[in-house]
């Protein structure tokens, strides 16, 4: 079955998931890498042409070997040095990982790069593209042989909460114990739906906007029962703003600061 996510379940019951990269983003990364290879070869050619002034035979031989080594070695060198990334993959936030979540080994990198010889047949990675399209984990033949997959590592973008929630009094904050309970009860998906609804509020038809905010407000009101003083007279849209505020702002103030400190220390 085709899937867009690589799920790894450890014997301890911990589950990781990583988003698999599709053929288009992989092709784009490959295209960037090919451009870079051409640039490297161009510079190499210029340097060797200087050597050619003295001995043209050796310069030409180095050019032939250089084309071959750079063509094959580029992917192996960068994927090994940068833990599964080339420059193209870095730009598109892609990474080669072991299919079972194990350490990526040198021989896996070599196998997946050498098998490009089949994947690129008959032109422009047709075989690899078809294999990627048919494979459940979007693997080309080289990935299948090496037990690797290419995953996406998207950057988590901070929502612009200041612009969204500026200058409004939040009645829910008067009840920190209930706020804490709301944060425990709301799942990451629910929090994300609430945030996205607020961010896209102007794209809705007026009636649909009233309806969707009503549905979400009812949903979140059912999660934690705040006293009437905190919710009476608060419109559904404002209630949802308050919910997003306590869910996300606490993170911005506490969690991210703590995480930044963590990153600084490590």
């Amino acid at each position: 079955m085709k899937t867009s996510t690589l799920v790894i379940r450890t014997p301890e019951g911990i589950v990781f998931s990583q988003r698999l990269a599709g053929p288009v983003s992989r092709f784009a990364a490959w295209f960037i890498d090919q451009l870079l290879i051409q640039i490297i070869l161009l510079f190499m050619g210029l340097l060797l042409s200087l050597l050619g002034i003295f001995t043209s035979g050796i310069a030409l031989a180095f050019t032939v070997i250089g084309w071959f080594v750079v063509g094959i070695g580029y992917g192996i060198f960068f994927e090994w040095s940068w833990r599964g990334q080339t420059i193209g993959k870095k730009l598109f936030r892609l990474r080669v990982v072991d299919v079972a979540g194990m350490r990526l080994q040198f021989n896996q990198i070599v196998v997946r790069n050498l098998l490009r010889f089949v994947d690129e047949l008959p032109f422009l990675y047709f075989v690899g593209g078809v294999a990627c399209w048919v494979s459940p984990k979007c693997q080309r033949l080289g990935d299948l042989a090496a037990n690797t997959v290419v995953v996406r590592t998207p950057k988590v973008v901070e929502p612009d909460l200041d612009q969204l929630l500026a200058g409004k009094y939040n009645s829910l904050r008067q009840y920190p114990h209930l706020v804490a309970r709301l944060r425990q009860n709301a799942s990451p998906t629910e929090a994300s739906i609430a945030l996205q609804t607020l961010l896209r509020r102007d794209e809705f038809e007026p009636l649909a906007r009233v309806e969707i905010f009503n549905d979400l407000a009812v949903h979140f009101r059912a999660k934690v029962d705040f006293p009437p003083e905190a919710t009476d007279g608060v419109a559904d849209e404002q209630y949802l703003r308050n919910v997003v505020d306590v869910l996300y702002r606490t993170r911005v103030e506490n969690g991210v600061e703590a995480l930044k400190a963590l990153c600084d220390e490590s």
Partner: protein, 337 residues
């Protein structure tokens, strides 16, 4: 259940950092060995961090912390549950004289199969030329092989000057890169359940057999041996070893007689396939030099006997290297019957 996120992170952070430090150390020094106390600490830190991840996953608004913990736990998981050999430092001498020949012998069955396919190709190509000499343009459509062997030998022996003057290094580099590319393709085509590898080996055999019969038929056996042996005794076995690696890949994909799933079968041979193909590249570099600097020179420049003797010495050394190098006295090897 986390009540106070800030306090939770503050309390747990030292454990995450400690685990990350240990991981950095393990990844930077793969040969380092841990004491029992360190192992216990490592396992404790892994479990504690995994538990933090499990808790924070249920938290609605912590994507960054979750990503950080997933990364650390993922790395620790791969260190603890990895069953393959650790990546050791590379020792070139040990690799050439121990790892490579032992790997070759471990999968020698695939090599014999590779030889059998090539011999079948040789018989087909040789038989076709013997029975129907007009099939030459179809079997070996290369300009330098299309010529009448007797005429070519006469031309080669007439040219006294250095035909490859100033071009030998380039010619040698072209031969090396071309042959290595063909070898990699022969290996990679193993992914087509071996059909591609078999075709490559068979076609190589067809050309070899056709050329051999063509020259023997024309009475130029000595020239043929003098021309092919110096580089061919290395080049042909190299292609056969590439075929061996391709057939290993194919056998892992087909999985006949194995109860292991496909990823486990491929994982089991991956290291050996890489060892063989690097060995092939090494042999082909030598073959490229010999072909450019020696094989293209004939009598009267170099006597055929000398070239044939050189080829024989190379072949004996290669056979000794592949069959004997890296053997430990009294210890049977994996793959020994």
């Amino acid at each position: 259940m986390i009540v106070d996120l800030q306090r939770f992170i503050a309390n747990e952070r030292p454990f995450w950092i400690e685990l990350e430090k240990l991981l950095n150390h393990l990844e930077a020094e793969p040969d380092a060995e841990m004491s029992l106390q360190q192992l216990q600490l490592f396992h404790h830190l892994y479990e504690r961090t995994a538990s933090s991840l499990a808790k924070i996953t249920t938290f609605s608004s912590e994507p960054e912390t979750r990503q950080y913990l997933e990364n650390v736990v993922g790395r620790a998981y791969s260190e603890i549950h990895e069953t393959r050999d650790r990546q050791r430092k590379f020792y070139p001498i040990e690799w050439v004289f121990h790892t490579l020949p032992r790997t070759f012998r471990k999968h020698v069955g695939a090599f014999y199969l590779s030889v059998a396919i090539t011999i079948a190709g040789c018989l087909f190509g040789g038989g076709a030329i013997a029975l129907d000499p007009d099939s030459k343009p179809i079997l070996m459509p290369f300009p330098h092989l299309m010529q009448d062997p007797a005429k070519r030998v006469a031309e080669e022996e007439r040219s006294n000057g250095d035909r490859l003057k100033g071009m030998k290094t380039t010619f040698s580099a072209e031969l090396m890169t071309h042959n290595i590319k063909i070898s990699i393709l022969t290996l990679a085509l193993g992914m087509t359940w071996g059909f591609g590898t078999i075709l490559m080996l068979f076609y190589n055999g067809v050309i070899l057999g056709a050329v051999a019969v063509d020259y023997i038929h024309a009475g130029e056996t000595k020239f043929l041996l003098g021309w092919l042996m110096p580089h061919g005794v290395i080049e042909i076995p190299s292609i056969l070893i590439a075929g061996q690696a391709g057939l290993m890949l194919a056998m892992a994909i087909i999985g006949r007689g194995s109860r292991l799933p496909l990823p486990a079968r491929l994982r089991a041979i991956s290291q050996d396939v890489v060892t063989l193909i690097f060995g092939v590249a090494m042999l082909l570099v030598w073959a490229g030099f010999v072909e450019a600097f020696l094989s293209q020179y004939h009598e009267p420049v170099i006597p055929y006997e000398a070239k044939i003797a050189f080829g024989c010495v190379e072949l004996i050394l290669l056979c000794l290297f592949l069959s004997m190098s890296g053997r430990r006295k009294g210890k049977p090897e994996e793959g020994d019957q």
